[in-house]
Amino acid sequence: MYPCIEHCIWLIPLLPLTGAMVNLLIGSRLPRPVTHTIAIGTIATSFVLSVIAYLHIVSLPPGQRQFIDTVYTWIGLQGFRVGLSFLVDPLSVVMALIVSGVGSVIHLYSVGYMHGDKRYSRYFGFLNLFAFAMLLLVLSNSILLMFVGWEGVGLCSYLLIGFWFEKIENAKAGMKAFVVNRIGDFGFIVGFMLLFTAVGVRTGTWSLDFGVIKSNIGLVSPAILTAVGIMLFVGATGKSAQIPLYVWLPDAMAGPTPVSALIHAATMVTAGVYMVARMNFLYALAPDALRVIAIVGALTAFFAATIGLVQNDIKKVLAYSTVSQLGYMFIGVGVGAFGAGIFHLMTHAFFKALLFLGSGSVIHAMSGEQDIRKMGGLSSKMPITTTTFVIASLAIMGVPGFAGFFSKDDILYHAYISPYGGTFVWLLGVVAAVLTAFYMTRLVILTFYGNPRMDHHTAEHVHESPKTMTIPLIILAILSAIGGYIGMPAIFGVHNVFAQFLAPVFASGVRLPEGSVSLEWTLMGVSVLAAFSGIGFAYYLYGVRTELPAIMAEKYNTAYRWLLNKYYVDEFYQKYIVGGLMGLKDLLGVFDARIIDGTVNGTARLGRRLADFEGAFDRVVVDGAVNAVGDGIVSAGAVLRKLQNGLVQNYLIVAVIGMAILLSLVLL
């Protein structure tokens, strides 16, 4: 429909990059309205271009919904080329829409949230840079270019989490995110290098393009593919916050709240899920890797949800819910239901962005207070925030009709019937759904309902947020409410539009068995039951018998303490991994000091001896000879200089006398 878009896909990532450059280089000299207009304008234009690309893709026949836009040859060696080229297919177009769409909304929201910040232009520059990196990641046509975006989002998360670096905790949180991500990136690098080598050795084709790898993947042995799959997933556990590398995500709350929304919803954490879905042709041949992904995803979904039960910081609860929901997405892609994983990624982007922006609105109104024990009763004063937040909560809990219900149900259904999933994975997913419903209900009740528990001064200050903040909330609330209908399962008598749209990308992916309709209804019933039981239990505890939670925390003190302290995982890492590394560091330090420094110092000492000897030789022999010659010339000069008395007539007399002598010799 719009063929020209096939040649300007590169504009989608380039525009935010341009915005970032302008804002980072000269932004501090621009007035604030210009700054945020540039930032929002570029990302919004990217969104419009993504929509055009989507419309174009849809207008093509389903089998041919793919095109590649090569802009430039980045690396051009004999037999190995990496182009700056972009791949547009249903998967990348969906991702581009989510990233630029949700990203635009968050940019807009930031105008209100950051209005008083002194590094306003830098903030918007980083935000644009983040969007650029993520768009590059999802649109790239080769793993190498994807890796550039992959590292880019890591960098931007570091910059934005530590944005308020004056507080040392924030700077530390940024560093933690960066370091933990680096550990995952290491696995990712090993993974794609192994894949590159394996494909290259087998076929003689050295390439990192998805298309080339896809067509040659069948020639690589399954054992190597499994190793590659697991190494790539290690990268995904870093970026997408799965066990064991999820620890950075809850700390990422240190950044400004819109940044949390960006990291948790549109960018960054979805990168791992997207990567696994993109490499579906590889995982289809590596079933063991898929099982690992499904089990890690299920465990993450469960454990993160249990931690979320008792957290008291509004953003911490949401952070653990993100980790938990990412676990769901990995269950989805891990059991081979890539479409379901991406579907949940999308709905989650809507409601998680909304939850974070809503919490930002709450924090804004509460003058920076984040502890839900000191909130309560905000619903009357903040009607828009409350309504939208509740809609998002219903969506994440999986209440029928809202976006999260369809996607979560899709995942759990596939987890049950897939050969890579099974009852264990499914059961963990269902329990996590109960827990999710529980902690979200608890969060909503403690924050918005019941009696106000804040101090008098704060209570007076509570107000609804400005329009730039509430409009994004409303947009996202609408998406959270209706976004799920594009992926309604077939048992409702409709086509699953979303799954069909993505199907060509996953055509060579995993073939899943078909379940019976009655099984699907049953599983759906269980999901709904799980959601409502969680809601009911939480309502009973926090809405009706409000004295019970404290009693229970007292009674099951040990369990409560473990949950509150997040299973002491951070402490464990600190003590054994960081501590171990520190021990190793000390050991290496001693080695350095003794052996390496010793060798260096010994060499230096030897060098000095030699130099002393050479110096003496120089002084006595060489300098002696040179000085002797110089002295000789000086003493000769002392005699001769007397002739040179500067008087012209003396010279002439000498000349005349000489002439006379010569003449007399000749004539006589």
């Binding site: 001769l640 200089r641 007397k642 002739l643 040179q644 008395n645 500067g646 008087l647 012209v648 007539q649 002439l652 007399i653 005349v656």
Partner: protein, 104 residues
């Protein structure tokens, strides 16, 4: 009738002029006077050139040469006087015994 002027007479005249010039150059303290001595020496040489031209059959080459010599002498004097003036501006004297800046 006075005896005819011979080549020898000319040579004797130029020899006397040259000697006076050398004496002046070697003894005068005044730089201008030294230059005048130099002029005498040059003109003695010119007389020689003209005389030889007249008394031998070498044609007018010697006379032409003398003309060149006079022109060059004029130029030389111009340069020399300019140098003397410059020296005077710096040292406020043209006494050659005091001009021993180039002393070794």
């Amino acid at each position: 009738m006075a005896p005819a002027v011979t080549l020898t007479d000319y040579l004797i005249l130029s020899g006397i002029l040259f000697s006076i010039g050398v004496f002046g150059v070697l003894t005068r303290k005044n730089a201008i006077a030294v230059l005048m001595g130099v002029e005498l020496m040059l003109n003695a040489a010119n007389i020689n050139l003209v005389a030889f031209s007249k008394f031998t059959d070498a044609g007018v080459v010697g006379q032409v040469f003398a003309l060149f010599s006079i022109v060059i002498a004029a130029a030389e004097v111009a340069v020399a006087l300019a140098i003397v003036i410059s020296i005077y501006k710096v040292t406020r004297t043209i006494d050659l015994d005091k001009e021993d800046t180039m002393k070794g």
